[in-house]
Symmetry: D2
Subunit: 366 residues, 4 copies
């Protein structure tokens, strides 16, 4: 209930602030026998690492993952996996106005309202660095899902109004451009748009999509822990996300039933849907089609322009946020969306193991 734990069967607890000693996660409920190395985790952490392009902050953070428990002889033991990343940037410095002013669009005001005071260094717990724990855990969940033939692919669908039409997706080029967009041309357009934003001391938002293939029908627990409901929570819990869609999402609200329904057909003893407007769930349970999730990311709230605000004492003032800031959060959030989707799916997949008495009997007699 305290908010830093996610999942039930495959459960993670994250901890750490932007400028504290370290940041980390404890994964509890990961089955024994999964091959796991720190390189597996580093690979995912590197995807969210800043300093990779001119649209992400230049701070040279290394973010090296250490596995402190739960792995023996290269395999998970079934006991909690503790992963830690030490913060490099802990030196005491002048946090200036941030200490006493509430930055618009940030959580400074609400943390103060909730807790009475806050760790103002770099945003404290509300910093984007909090996602390190999610991504490290997501790496483990993805590894587990991979063993079952499940694959997640996340990418940037749009930056500002530069939206890639679905028919022009080219997944092969996602990791070739710094914005993780599945289309080279649109990636260039988006880069130009971001240049313009930076010039104007402004920032941009965008949308991220995540597709999951290999998901068998039956995952998701009616009525509150539906697969789509759980995904919505997981994705919306990421800092800058303001909207979540499954399948056609808001477009479905304007569609007709006759076109929105996905007809079933049978082929090679498999029941398949001709279309996938539903985005892979029916009644909150996976239907065997790819699961499709979309997230709306707001523009980076830190901008170089002067903005009106108040001090903690309630005095009207204005603030200019100095230092380098990403003009867009989207590319760095791509792997975070993927991580939350993997964690959610791994959890509900395990829960589904006991949906039928036959499965329990089969397991118990093994």
């Amino acid at each position: 209930m305290a908010g830093s734990t996610y999942g039930n069967s495959f459960k993670i607890t994250t901890w750490g602030e932007s400028h504290g000693a370290a940041i980390g996660v404890v994964i509890d409920g990961c089955p024994s026998g999964l091959p796991l190395s720190k390189e597996d985790i580093q690979f995912y952490l590197d995807r969210r690492k800043p300093g990779q392009s001119r649209f992400t902050t230049a701070r040279q953070e290394s973010d090296h993952a250490k596995i402190l428990s739960g792995v023996f002889d290269g395999k998970t033991t079934g006991t909690p996996i503790s992963i830690m990343v030490e913060n490099q940037d802990q030196r005491s410095k002048d946090y200036g106005r941030i200490k006493d002013c509430y930055r618009p669009g940030h959580a400074d005001f609400t943390f103060d309202a909730k807790y009475g005071f806050r760790d103002y260094r770099g945003g404290g717990r509300s910093s984007g660095r909090e996602t390190i724990g999610r991504v490290a855990a997501g790496a483990v969940a993805s590894k587990l899902l991979e063993q079952l033939g499940i694959k997640l692919t996340a990418y940037t669908r749009s930056i500002g109004n530069i939206i890639i039409p679905e028919e022009e997706y080219d997944f092969s080029c996602i990791s070739e451009n710094q914005l993780y967009m599945p289309n080279r041309t649109y990636a260039k357009k988006a880069a130009a748009y971001l240049e313009e934003c930076m010039k104007n001391k402004d920032s941009a938002g965008g949308t991220i999509e995540c597709r999951i293939t290999g998901v068998r029908a039956g995952i998701g627990e009616p009525v509150f822990d539906k697969l789509d409901a759980a995904l919505a929570k997981g994705i919306m819990s990421i800092g800058a996300v303001k909207g979540v869609e499954i399948g056609d999402g808001f477009l479905a609200a304007a569609a007709l039933g006759s076109s929105n329904n996905d007809p079933f057909y049978s082929q090679n003893d498999q029941i398949i849907k001709r279309t996938n407007h539903s985005g892979g769930t029916l009644g909150g349970i996976s239907d065997g089609s790819p699961v499709l999730i979309r997230a709306a990311i707001k523009p980076t709230p830190s901008i170089a322009r002067e903005q009106d605000t108040v001090t903690a004492d309630g005095e009207n003032t204005s603030i200019v946020i100095t230092g380098r800031h990403d003009p867009v959060i989207v590319p760095r959030a791509v792997v975070v969306v993927e991580a939350m989707a993997a964690l959610t799916l791994a959890d509900l997949l395990i829960v589904n193991m006991s949906s039928q008495l036959e499965n329990i009997k089969h397991f118990y007699s093994r």
Copy 2:
């Protein structure tokens, strides 16, 4: 984990199928001393009752709520509140093709995939009647929030492409039209559109908004149980919902930081935001502005047209769904969205009571 429980501190467990003996909910964690009568609950149930307009099914269900426990001398006792609605329509009848065929857009296939067999009568647990428990519990949560000065207002924002612009909202007329729309003219347009849908043996979707006023800053638990994340789960867990937005939602993804940030100012010792693009949360914690949630509802999957599908044995076939069906789910879902929002907020509001040591000390010394 089993899926029928929602919330932690203010926790509900729903049960019941469309054509079983009854449907109900157990509310655990409601504080003692809240005045509560069955009329309080009936008022909310009546808002989702079918047979109220030509756009909702004509079945004359009465849906009378009984309170079986947890209330004594007109007040809640602090122990579980059990509320039950007996199903009127239990007679055995011919369920025809539904028994063996998978209706497109419904959960027939996925329930079979998950559980090995299903209660095919009227959709069983995946029926819209499942929401009776949510709405009854939502009535209690709303009553609790009302005591704190918190008010929820939900309404239909759009049907198909008939979208009411925000500046034309007239909340006074919401309950005067059968579509629960806050604008008479748009309600008429939407009614005409639905007539057309029915003529075409088709159905429509739409969007629902819920505004919550009186929410003080500080509610929501970083990092996974954020107020917006919890709301997203609650709303997305409603049957036909395919998308959820907070504040500007997907529009924020296309906005600039300079316009999306809400500047703070101080007035009469209160810190307020000049705009509310954020929809009442910052960093997942309520910021004192009205909380604004939006849900996308897909078109009713039951349509009178012939549709391609398969039998449970995997034979390709087609189905025509007979009987009366609402051409749109939206108006009946309005109160369900409001209920889930109330339940989510009540839960996190209670959790927030222990965020500061000072509050615990104050409570313990009372």
Copy 3:
């Protein structure tokens, strides 16, 4: 958190007060496909029914179980099973002093302290009738465990100082005597002792044992959800229980390591323990030996003697509790202990299905 929910994967929520409209339970997470009838539940409820002997209250309560949801065509559907027992004894009557006085040994004072007021009719939620929900749910859990070859046997080990030595147990006669004791001679001695208690307007306590056979090694989750820890909670949550032991329990505290350790040996490819001082768990995980639990039950607090107490207003006074009351709770609690043990084991058995990656892979490829 609110206290009326037990278990995670096999989860129950109970509700109801002594003299409210009804009492019941919702079981969520029971797998689909389990044959279940109301007779299965009635059989367990009858074991706790009062009016069966002169040591249990003469009130003629019928306690008929109704299954309201979750069962279709004689089998569980995987959705919540709602079971209700209507209270017969709801007529308004004069509760006399109980309304304003705190009965010693009862929860009257603490309920008032916690909730500010209470449902004083027959003890309200703190009445022994609250266990009806536990027992009904325990019947379902036992049915599930039975399908896996797991059998629970609970019985009265002692009443007052009349303790049956383990070597004189005769399980065949448990249900032949009204005290559920596994020895006819001791049952007679105990009956005589209870007669004496009644003559003296006094009451007695006793101990209950529960043995579970057929439990394979591996069940229980280190480090907090150990099988013995979970059992301890489940058993201690029963009204009058003041102590819980696993295996040798408190005797182990006085034993030597050389005699308390159970040596392993191998026979027919099975690893077995020569003794079972541990009571079937090692490190909180089942070890393949029978699980042995013991509970201490305090004497019935309602006695016919005058006792010192206070009124709710803090006035010193004395009270004589009128009406018929059991001179001992133990025999009626036997099935409650068994129910809690079954619920606990069913829950942890399901959780254990995902302890190894191999099991998950095997399940997912079925």
Copy 4:
């Protein structure tokens, strides 16, 4: 569900194995504003440190606590507190027979049965070192309770058959003897008994008591999360505990109602119990009297004698466990019992804040 998380509102997650890189705990839900330093935690860790007497192992472990997050400017921030202790003894060494044999009384066999393989180094996750996380978190919970005037005192009540009668308790000398016994004479007798055990290559068990004063009436959640039930789980989850009692415990089973009931009386506007057989709870809710818990600890399973056992391959063999081992676990477990009691109470105390509407209204209007 995965087992390494304890509590709901004040929630801890422990991680780490005996010979892994480190051991630790994450505390989530600790309120903001609690003064906390690493010395506060070290003080508790030192109480469980080995090498303090000839009855505890001579290994020179330092067990230095580091606080990695959740504390800023000397106070808790309300966000997760991560505490880590690095293991000193990680060098690879010859684990000899332990690698392939199952030590009687240990969890070697059951971990293998559950997970398919195990970290055999020093017992892995089933080692007593696992309690470091509990004790570190217990230090924080105790600090919180201290602020409310609640004090916990734990001590050794008996070693083997050397039991201190309650009337001879002298709490002032608990920390003056290496066995943490509240009586010098009995401590000497117990020391002599342990010498004898060591001479005989044997080990002893004992009992631990914990008294909690300053607990106001009203804490504990009917019906499953009762204060005594929650304490029973917390205490029984400690490695070697085989029994738990509240108040008179098993003695109550042999008592008469007339003597077991605690009469109420009123003094200075306070309602008090004349006796405390109940151990501070009635109906599972604190009654304002001191809470009294007792735990039975089994003898150390590691003894220097030859014992029969089997190899992992099921071959019958015998084993002599080499190395130094404590002849008794009890003194080192005293602080662990205290920690689990503090964690349990802190959690339920917070939950109780919302039991009455009046409290919620009061909080919300502050």
